[in-house]
Subunit: 443 residues, 2 copies
């Protein structure tokens, strides 16, 4: 017997309904925020991703050579494709570009809970706008995309950080510019590495500089302990040099960001968390990660500003900010919290036909009802009432339309409520009207 | 500058909207027919497809070896995955199984109009029901899936044929059973091959039998000239042997099929066309192809009965019938006929903010309106009225909400109609109510 590949999911109807529920919510919400949907191929040139992320990404890819000798890969993410599309029409597209996509991505990784080899992601990005207003809009959409499922402040938190502020802070420690990115990779492991390994990693990143790794780690620990903008402002208030001015200017952008999100009613979903630096080197400004607050604190989404990418991939200089939210951890969380709607495959009406000569009349009605937008099934075979009504009930139909010789001769349809087991006769001429009324009656 | 791979499409928002329009129509219609949606991985074991279609399919595939040494391929179609999923739960699933899927498939083929290397397909299948009622339901859904876009009898025709009838007819010519399938491959080329090549191909298929290729071709030409069930019935009416009885029994199933489709109002969409045999060997009964009637007569969909596949792929003996409809030729046809709705990225309302102190109030309203389901954008920057109103008009907003210091101080919002350029002041306390009324007013 064949099976699916490890890390790839099959979607039986109940599971497909869950996917559609999630995708619909995401789509509706993005449209409300004035985002437009786009899409891109799942197969792309390998180079598109190595150009963005370096050669080491290849080990995580489903890459191969196609029959035309092209080096191609299933996409691990959609952002490079986005940059490519926007770059190609940079002069024609109205800015800011507010686009979203829902697509499947593929990574050859070790499987674990919440991590599969094929997963869907909701991506939203704003391009062509450098101000914190764009960051705020992206963060607001990200938070609302979780609230749309009924998740609230007790369920998740958006942890905000800032690579621009990090670079300024590292500069204030006397760390040279070219050392900042490798050092941020060390900061990324601050809470995961044992102290001695951390010291070694910092010393390695700082090799060739005059900085003492131990002192830098101590300063970094003090810095990441700031958990509010007020504290940061107080700490840097007295610094009178140019760098102090730059830092205060950046903290002003923080204030603008938080004011916007506050005005939108999202203050309680945010926390300032400077331990977040996002591993990927391409982030350039505000960065954020969204974590579940209960349970095992799984990551639900992440994003940030990446002002250099469009240019790097051949486009114009264009600021950009965005996020990605996966379907796997979200679906697990919603399931754990009982936040999925009950799945029902039930049709509105199920027609049963008791004799062959009744079939043409029944089928004409079925076709007309379907045209009017109702969900209708019917029995493929004629047969005895008992067996047919059982099939209709197994199909979950609340109402059964019965076409027997007597009904057809009298120009009526018998409508049976499968729950109350009550029946009524309705003239075929007013069938549509009656069924509309029945359908709109709550259970 | 990076580009997409040949035969793969990018979807800018206008194109993505077209896709969504098509997918939504398909989905709605399938649900009305009582079908349930399923989905499967785009990457599968290569063997799943070679088992169904033979080794020669590999030349058309995007296949490769993954990092775990598995022979895998992007799926060229979804039917084997369907058979796999149904087979795995054959005892648990209510029958008949009525499932549909909308998914992308991949074939490494030469590109031409209407043929890409990545294309979406709407698949619908009924499993577990052998009677012509299931074939009729599938054909009805296929026809209605085109009618849903405004295509009617002048636009397309469903050409019906029957491999069961073909096998019986070939038996009546004295052609042995094992020769029938290769001969049907020749019939498939009846109208495409020059007479001498056809004769050669027939002779090759008939090698080792006592049949004369020329005579067989003549009989086949006479057979495919029958274009109605009445003519077929008349032709076989006098045959008195067992085979004649079998043929008349099969023609009775044809009558049942056509009666159902007639009762559903679809008679005018059908034609009997025995030249259709479907190249694929796995079809076992009724087969059909849907062709555009105007223009270059492109194929829009195709399908048929494939009763042996589920068992072949490791499942139980389970009859099955289905169709596939691609998005590429359909979209081309709808475009040619002007049957796409006009694309609009326009939001319902666009808020502009004239001074920084007005922003918190404006953003609170924007958040509330979005929560209520409206599509709202706002200006990321404060600024002069003229420039902001221009941005709002470029965004396509019919109504602009204006937040200036005077309005905010007075607790009102100025609503401007960008078409009539009329303005009204509305108290913030009744803003939602007013905007609901405006939104529901037709243009």
């Amino acid at each position: 017997m064949f099976t699916s590949l490890p890390g790839f999911r099959e979607f039986y109807p109940e599971e497909c309904a869950v996917q559609n529920y999630i995708f619909d919510k995401w789509r509706q919400l993005a449209l409300r925020f004035g985002f437009q949907e786009w899409n891109a191929p799942v197969l792309e040139s390998l180079e598109l991703f190595t150009e963005k992320s370096g050669e080491e990404i290849v080990q995580q890819l489903f890459n191969f050579e196609d029959k035309g000798g092209r080096k191609v890969t299933l996409r691990p993410e959609m952002t490079p494709s986005l940059a490519r599309l926007v770059a190609a029409r940079a002069n024609a597209i109205r800015r800011p570009v507010k686009w979203f996509a829902i697509g499947e991505n593929y990574r050859y990784e070790k499987q674990q809970r919440g991590r599969l080899r094929a997963f869907y992601q909701f991506n939203a990005d704003i391009l062509g706008e450098a101000s914190p207003a764009a960051d705020a809009e992206i963060i607001a959409l990200c938070a609302e995309a979780l609230r749309a499922f009924g998740l609230e402040t007790q369920d998740f938190r958006v942890r905000l950080s800032d690579r621009t502020l990090w670079f300024l802070f590292l500069e204030s420690l006397g760390i040279p510019e070219q050392t900042a990115v490798p050092l941020l990779s060390v900061v990324d492991k601050l809470e995961r590495l044992p102290p001695e390994d951390l010291l070694k990693a910092a010393a390695s990143a700082l090799a060739g500089t005059a900085c003492d790794a131990g002192q830098v780690i101590e300063s970094v620990r003090a810095f990441v302990a700031f958990d509010s903008l007020d504290k940061l402002e107080a700490f840097f208030a007295s610094r009178s040099d140019t760098l102090g001015g730059k830092i205060r200017e950046r903290l002003g952008e923080w204030r603008a960001l938080l004011n916007i999100l506050g005005a939108m009613g999202l203050a309680n979903f945010l926390s300032l968390d400077l331990t977040i630096v996002r591993g990927l080197a391409y982030y350039t400004g505000f960065v954020f990660e969204v974590f579940e607050r209960s349970g095992d604190g799984r990551a639900l989404a992440g994003g940030g500003r990446y002002d250099a990418l469009v240019k790097k991939l051949g486009g114009p200089d264009m600021p950009a900010v965005g996020f990605g939210m996966g379907d796997v951890t979200l679906a697990n969380l919603l399931k754990d919290k009982g936040l999925f709607p009950v799945y029902s495959a039930a049709v509105d009406f199920y027609a049963i036909v008791l004799a062959p000569e009744c079939r043409p009349i029944a089928l004409a009605d079925v076709a007309a009802l379907r045209h009017s937008g109702m969900r209708v099934e019917y029995s493929f075979k004629d047969g005895k009432f008992g067996k047919l009504i059982q099939a209709a009930e197994q199909a979950g139909a609340r109402h059964v339309l019965i076409y027997g010789p007597d009904e057809v001769a009298a120009g009526v349809v018998k409508i049976r409520n499968t729950q109350t087991r009550t029946e009524q006769l309705v003239p075929r001429t007013s069938l549509m009207e009656q069924l509309c009324a029945i359908k709109s009656t709550p259970t």
